[in-house]
Every structure is written in structure tokens, then in C-alpha cells.
């Protein structure tokens, strides 16, 4: 009789646990029922335990109870961990292990379903675990985002389908799919993911690309062309539309890269009265360009900066390493070196100086990237050419620059977290010796000495 009652109780318990998973809509009611059940079970088990006379039966009963408690503990953990998965306390400085509040508020307000597919590298030495960790964090705030990883060899068909949609997709990067829209991120980071999601949600954003002055063509795959730049930007959600002088004033954003011919007086006049965002990337050898900048309030040098670190890329015509000098949002995801063939010093009094030539001393750091009102001037030559787009820093920098100018309403404008920056750290050998003596000898010897005294 008692055994039968015990088995019935066990079945009821199992039924309640399974019900919780099968009928999540009745979660609260099942939990209340389960709590009541535990109370009843406790009373019954206790009475059976106390009044049973057989030792064998008592032992079996104890075993059952232990097994049941283990089952309950496992069930409660799975139920609780699912509910509590989004609750955490970040004690790290600057909360650097949490998503930024801007990113969280953006994903919370997502109204469309988003699928993110990470492409693993062939030998699996990639950022897949980082991707999963970040996506798990994002999933805590929204049900709209689904994510998975694919392997280019094991999932060849799917990989080829993605490549057809996003030409620059490659192992180590991820693709965001929102309906018919796609976007691509080539590095796993919070910024890159949220940026790619934004790009896929809003669709392609058109940006005017000026032509007619010897600018590199967007379909030119030679070393000096800009096809790679155009393709990467397209996959990141920015569509370059070549426009001539006549249509400049209709553009919200106008990009001019490496002009080889001087601008006419009419063109200069149009650019001076242009009220959109103007991005200039290229040298300042041309007189008309220097005149234009002078009228804007930026004085540009006609000769390249000559005290350069040219050793790294001597085979090409120079090669200048550029350092950021300001924690501007456009540099948020720049981790590689930014390289161009030549740069020209820019001087201005009331403008933001964002980057300078890498030099040995602070006085060598001559500004080469400035923002004045709605004009962004970067005096690096060929930075967007196919040759220089090989450098990851150039891709990251140009992506940041374009995103900042094209979508100033983006959610992730939080300042750079200082904790993410490498800190130079040094301890003199004398102090190191003192530390060694204290921590390895002195403290343990005190305890070991006490052990001898206590004998």
C-alpha cells in the first residue's frame, strides 16, 4: 500500500515537471501545484520513513527520496536558470563585459525578425565562442534575433547561397539577414554586430560618389581602383551612387576620393554652398582643393609630410601609418593600422582633429583627419584604393567614417571604453625582487614557522 502510494506520488511529480516544459503558458499554476505537491510529498515520505519497521524498506525509501531530491534540484535549476538567464551583476570597471545601454535599447525595440549567421573558419580557429557569447547576451533582451554558425566546408550549399547574396562574406565574418535585406560584418564585436543589424534593418543607404576628376572608378579592380571599397561598403549597407557635378546638391552625403584634376570655379562654388555632409579622402596637391579647404577654414599643405615611417611598405610609393588622436565614435572598431601612400598636414583652429601621422614625438603628430562643421577631410592618398584596402585598419576606419556620417542617429554612439585600451605597464626590477621575496618567501614562511611552533 505504502509503496503504491509512493509510486503514485512519484508519477504525479514527474507529470508536473514535464507539464512545466510542455505547457509553458501555465507556468505559474504548475509551479504553485508543484509547491503544494512538495509539501504533501514531504509529509507522506516523513510518515513512511518513521513508521516503517523494515530496515530494507527504509533503506530503499531513503534511496528513492535522495533520487527524487536530485531530480527536483535538477528540474528547479533548469527552470530557474532559464528565467534568470538575463539577470546579472557586472562589477567590472566601466561595465565592459556588458552590452552598452544604447545597443540594448536598440535591440529591445527591434520590430522585425533578424537572422545572424556566423561563418566559421575552416580550421575552427575563429571567434565562434565570442560570437555565441555576444549573441546570447543580445538574446537576453529580444526574441527577434536568431543566430547560428555554419562551416564553409560542412555546410557548402548554405555557404554558397550566402556568398551569392553577400559577395564579400568570408570565414570569420557574419551575415545579417532581415527579409530580403542583408548586411555583413567582418569582425565579431558588439559594435560590428549592432551596426550590421542596423544596416540590414534600414536597408541600403545611398551615398553620392563624385566622378569626373580622375577619381578611382567603383568598378575598377586594378590596384588604384575603388571596387573593393565599394563592395565592402555595399555589404555593410552603404550603396555608392556615382554622381556628376550637376546633381551634387541633391545628395545628403557626398564622397570625393583622390581627385587627379583641379575642380572648376562652378564646382568649388557648389561645394562651398553644399549643405549635406561632404567627405573628402585624398591628397591636397591640387590648388583648387587647397582653395576649397581654405575657404572652409582648413589650411592644407601642398607637400606630403616627409618625416614618415616608410619602412613597412617601401615597395609601394611610401606608406604612412596613421594614429588616431581622438576617441571619436568612428574609431570604435579600429584595431589595425590605418595606412595610406602619402598624407598632407591639415591646420585649422576651430575644428576636431581626429587622426595624425604616426611619429616619434608629439610634435611629429601632424593632423591629417579633421572635421569642420559638415565637412570631413582626410588627407591620406589612395586610402580607399584596392591596394590599401588590404589593410584591416583601412576597412575598419572607412566603415566607421562612412557609418558616422551616413547614419548619425545610430544607437551605438557610446564613447570608447578606456578599459579596452592596452595600458603600458612597467615595474622596476628592484620592486619585482621585493615582490618576489614578500609573496613567495616571507608570507608562506610565516605560516610554516607557525606550524613548527604549534607542534
Amino acid at each position: 500500500m505504502k509503496r503504491a502510494l509512493f509510486i503514485i506520488l512519484m508519477f504525479i511529480g514527474a507529470f508536473l515537471v514535464i507539464s512545466f516544459f510542455v505547457m509553458p503558458e501555465y507556468k505559474i499554476r504548475i509551479l504553485i501545484a508543484f509547491a503544494l505537491y512538495l509539501v504533501v510529498f514531504g509529509f507522506v515520505a516523513r510518515s513512511m520513513f518513521h513508521y516503517s519497521v523494515s530496515k530494507k524498506r527504509l533503506r530503499t525509501l531513503s534511496l528513492y527520496v535522495v533520487l527524487f531530491i536530485i531530480a527536483c534540484a535538477v528540474s528547479i535549476f533548469f527552470l530557474g536558470s532559464r528565467t534568470l538567464s538575463s539577470y546579472k551583476l557586472d562589477l567590472s570597471g566601466g561595465k565592459r563585459l556588458s552590452l552598452s545601454p544604447e545597443a540594448v535599447s536598440y535591440v529591445k525595440e527591434l520590430k522585425t525578425d533578424v537572422e545572424i549567421i556566423y561563418i566559421r573558419s575552416v580550421n575552427n580557429s575563429d571567434d565562434n565562442s565570442l560570437f555565441n557569447t555576444l549573441m546570447k547576451e543580445f538574446s537576453n533582451y529580444t526574441d527577434r534575433i536568431k543566430y547560428r554558425s555554419i562551416h564553409p566546408v560542412l555546410n557548402t550549399i548554405e555557404y554558397n547561397e550566402i556568398k551569392n547574396k553577400v559577395s564579400s562574406a568570408s570565414p570569420g565574418g557574419f551575415v545579417v539577414i532581415v527579409g530580403d535585406n542583408t548586411s555583413y560584418g567582418n569582425k565579431v564585436s558588439e559594435y560590428e554586430i549592432i551596426n550590421a543589424v542596423y544596416s540590414a534593418v534600414v536597408g541600403k543607404r545611398d551615398v553620392c560618389y563624385s566622378y569626373g576628376h580622375g577619381e578611382p572608378a567603383l568598378d575598377d579592380y586594378s590596384e588604384r581602383g575603388a571596387a573593393i571599397f565599394a563592395n565592402i561598403m555595399y555589404d555593410k549597407g552603404i550603396n555608392f551612387v556615382p554622381v556628376g557635378y550637376a546633381l551634387w546638391d541633391r545628395c545628403a552625403v557626398l564622397v570625393m576620393a583622390d581627385p587627379k584634376k583641379d575642380l572648376t570655379k562652378q564646382e568649388l562654388k557648389k561645394l562651398l554652398s553644399y549643405d549635406g555632409v561632404f567627405i573628402y579622402m585624398g591628397g591636397t596637391r591640387l590648388t583648387s582643393i587647397r582653395e576649397l579647404f581654405f575657404d572652409i577654414g582648413v589650411s592644407a599643405s601642398s607637400v606630403p609630410v616627409n618625416n614618415l615611417k616608410r619602412s613597412a611598405f617601401r615597395e609601394y610609393d611610401g606608406g604612412v601609418l596613421i594614429d588616431k588622436v581622438s576617441d571619436h565614435p568612428m574609431f570604435k572598431d579600429v584595431s589595425g593600422g590605418i595606412v595610406s601612400s602619402d598624407v598632407y598636414e591639415l591646420k585649422c583652429s576651430d575644428c576636431q582633429k581626429l587622426a595624425a601621422v604616426s611619429g616619434d614625438t608629439d610634435s611629429d603628430n601632424k593632423p591629417v583627419l579633421v572635421i569642420k562643421n559638415n565637412v570631413n577631410i582626410f588627407s591620406g592618398e589612395n586610402v580607399s584604393s584596392n591596394f590599401f584596402m588590404r589593410f584591416s585598419g583601412n576597412v575598419q576606419f572607412l566603415s566607421g567614417l562612412m557609418n558616422f556620417t551616413v547614419s548619425p542617429d545610430l544607437a551605438f554612439y557610446s564613447s570608447l571604453r578606456q578599459d579596452e585600451q592596452p595600458q603600458l605597464f612597467a615595474v622596476s626590477p628592484r620592486y619585482l625582487d621585493i615582490i618576489f621575496i614578500i609573496v613567495v618567501f616571507l608570507i608562506p614562511i610565516v605560516f610554516l614557522g607557525l606550524s613548527i611552533l604549534r607542534r
Partner: protein, 238 residues
Amino acid sequence: MKRYREFREFFSNPVFYVVAGIFLALSGYKFYSLLVSYIDFMNVYPDYLAGTEIKALMGINVNSYLFPRLFGFYSYLVLISVPILNSGIGHDRFCELDKLELTASGKTELDLILRKIFTTVLIMAVILVPTLLYPLMTSVFTKVDYGIILSSYAGLMLLVFLSSCMVSPFSVLKIPFAVSIFMNMIILFVLYLYFLGPVFDPFMFGIVRASGLLFILILSSALIFISERIYVSTRLFA
């Protein structure tokens, strides 16, 4: 605290001082070697500016390089120390000291188990006190993230508590002292490597997860209950 027999025994027993001395010697050497390796690592930083290695260096500072590794090492030392420090009830049963307490002072089996567990936690806390010197030493040279230190110590103490609960089911058995320690060490290492590591790793980086705390709470409650059942059963059927 000193009214508890365990505390008096521990502080008058050379085993505690030997365990503490070895623990601190090993952890001190680990701290020193991590400090030296971090200095070496940062010395080569300027040479890598132009290369892709800068990517690997981004996000590395003393707080994210040194302390998670140091506290990860403490975890292993804790897994070795806890079975040695928490082998009490088995020993008491050999000496029949538990009978005295259970009958004369009216304590229950659960009381004894809980007392052993919390004694171990407090003893480990005493051993860990000198390690506070390491972050203080580091703070002389750079800014230390005390949030990470706080969560790491909290995680470590929870690991000590959970490990003490885990060794309890075996510790209450009347089996030889060395066998109990050895078996508990193996159990702890296997469980830590395969199951517990992911629960405690976030603590080392400054994250306290509610699901992790729930896991520790449920598992420790279940283990205390099982220990008590085993203790009662083995006493009844002895």
C-alpha cells in the same frame, strides 16, 4: 568563533599552517610569474603596432590579464585544500566524538554537517586573507579594478562553500582518512573541469550571474540534504 571545537583544532593543528603556507607559496609564485609575463608582454607592444597582433592586445590590461588567471589558479588550489580541511566528520566518527555531541549536546546530524562546511569556508577565508596583498601591490603601479577583485573573491568563497558541500557525502562515511581525501579530490577536479568551471568563470571576470547563484544554492542544498541522509542512514544501520 573559538567556542567551536573545529576552530580550536584548526588553529592549534600544524596541518592548517602547512596547508596555508603551501597555498600562499604557490599562489604568491603564480602572482609573481603572471606579473613578470604581463610586463614582458607589454614591453613588446610598440613593436606590434603595425601588425595584426594589435588585435590580440586590444582589451588586455592588468585587470583582464592578471586577475582572472590568478583566481583561476586559486580555484585549483581550493579544490586541493578543501578535501584536506573538510575531512572532519569521518575522523570524528572514528573517534566517536560525534556520538558524544549528538547525544549529550542535543545537536542533529544536519547541525554537525553545516558546522563542518562553514568551518571550512571560514578557514579558507583566513588562508585567503594574505592574498589581498597582491591586488594592493599591483595598485601601486596601476589602477586596479576592485569590482573584478570583489567578484573574484565572492566566486572563490562560493567555490569553497560548494566544494565543502560536495565533499560532505564522502566525509561523513566511516572510511580511512586518506581514501576520503583522495576520492574527494578526484570528484572535485572532475566536476570542476566538466561542470563547475563555466559556473565560476564569470566571477573571475567581474560578472555575477543570477543563474550561477541559483545553481550553487540548489546544488549545495541538495548535497547537504544527501549528506544528512547518508549520515543518518549509516548511523542507523551501523
